[in-house]
Amino acid sequence: MTALLELRSVTQRFGGFTALDDVSCSIEAGSISSLIGPNGAGKTTLFNVISGLVMPSAGSLGFNGTDYTGRRPDEIVRLGIARNFQQVRLFPALSVIENVMVGAHLRLPRTGLLDFMGGPFNADRVDRLARSIATEMLDLVEFKSAGDTHPQQLTLVDQRRIEIARALASDPRLLLLDEPAAGMNPSESNQLGAIIRKIRDLGRTVLLVEHNMRLVMAISDHVSVLSAGKVIATGTPSSVQADPAVIAAYLGNV
């Protein structure tokens, strides 16, 4: 097994505050890895670094053997890393299916100048392709409502599903999921676990940030624990669960 994602000594400072402190870790291709840690530990910040929304103050990022530190977020999606957002960020003006079609953006014929001129008169073919990708992804995340509704009309749980579908539509090798189970009841989170496994079985690698320990322990191959910006433990779910440092970090918090 080779490392798909490799973080080397990533440090992220916001003013005088150090949100990530010398974080190094690697994610194996084809695995489901989880990142856990108390509130404010820096998990979302780490996702922002990996997906290029913030530029790390120090350290480097490697994906599939190449250094991609400093690339723009859209280039990083093109490399094969897609994400959802802890605070759902769907496009309210677009319908559910159109939201997911935006995710399929980079798999469609390029939107260059020629496309601007010819695009609208060639729209049906491209549209059909985008639509079929989107429908497939919505099926995959077991989204059951109509595709032409607008996201605000749906429950938060459904909106999270759509965001996962939108991220999947770009055909990523690595999928970053930030608290996808937040607000889900036990049966919904079981269903989500099955979906994440299915995504992994389709050949994608998943990095999961989650507070729902039952879900994390059930599906993860590896678990890393982040506390106050530092990785304090890494290992299999059971070894991490037994680690005294982890217990201390959580007890200090809960």
Partner: protein, 276 residues
């Protein structure tokens, strides 16, 4: 048949519809421009120069219009390259400044008549040209919404960060929105020049830009029907308000304030569903 008066109103309306489209395109990607008259001026001067001063070739009207639009579009892209990194209020003031710069440059550019303008332009703009071009852009923009580029515009408008995280190149997409809008403004300028037959820099001042901006804000920017509605209302309203004589603009001004208060999204806007 239309009387010649009605025909000139219709042509004028068509030019305004195109100006409205030229604001609509960048607006749909979240870029507000208060300087579209600058692009209109570039298109007007370029095409008028080609048809009436450029004697080496007999440039057909359609080509002159296209080249005028292209000149405006290229300037649009060049201007947008630094400008799209600017946001919100800064962008509004920057585009406003751009429009004024273009005007001042034409005032100082003697080969195109300077402050006294360019006259003797051939009367080539006919109602059929205007209708055909408006229809073309209407259909184009209508269909653009169901292309990847059109959706990218909306995505950027709604949430730049999420759009970028979905693989949309913000810089390139915004450049296209701005350049596309400038291109349409250039075409509108070409049609205007060959209808007015005389152009001077003062015709392309801030009020022209503000007017085009109002078409879209009044009409709405959800789809191309909004700018059309806005242009129709603003262009034809004064015709229906002739009885108000010197107070026509005041009526219009009150209408603007009322719209800002009661329909801030424009006449044609989303029905935003309440959050569950």
């Amino acid at each position: 048949m239309l009387s010649s008066y009605q025909e000139s109103i219709a042509i004028f309306l068509g030019v305004n519809v195109l100006m409205a489209f030229s604001v609509y395109v960048p607006t749909s990607a979240g870029l507000i421009s208060l300087g579209q008259a600058g692009f209109m001026a570039i298109g007007a001067y370029a095409s008028a120069y080609l048809t009436s001063r450029f004697t080496a070739f007999d440039v057909p009207f359609g080509l002159a219009l296209f080249l005028g639009g292209a000149a405006a579009g290229i300037v649009g892209v060049l201007v947008a390259a630094p400008a799209v990194r600017i946001r919100g209020i800064y962008l509004i003031i920057a585009t406003l400044g751009f429009g004024e710069i273009v005007r001042v440059l034409f005032v100082n550019f003697e080969p195109l008549g300077g402050a006294s303008g360019l006259s003797g332009i051939q009367p080539l703009t006919t109602l059929s040209w205007v209708v055909a071009i408006c229809l073309f852009f209407f259909v184009f923009l209508w269909r653009l919404r169901s292309t990847p580029l059109g959706r990218a515009f909306v995505a950027i408008h709604e949430d730049e960060t999420a759009a970028e995280a979905m693989g949309i190149n913000l810089f390139r997409t915004k450049l296209m929105a701005f350049g596309g809008g400038a291109f349409i403004a250039g075409i509108a300028g070409g049609l205007y020049a060959h209808f007015a037959l005389f152009i001077d820099p003062s015709q392309f001042g801030f009020s022209k830009s503000a007017e085009a901006f109002l078409f879209v804000i009044l009409g709405g920017s959800v789809n191309p029907l909004g700018p059309v509605a806005g242009a129709i209302v603003v262009t034809l309203l004064p015709e229906f308000l002739r009885f108000l004589q010197d107070w026509r603009m005041s009526f219009f001004a009150v209408l603007l304030i009322a719209c800002a208060v009661w329909r801030p999204g424009g006449l044609i806007s989303y029905r935003r569903a309440a959050h569950p």
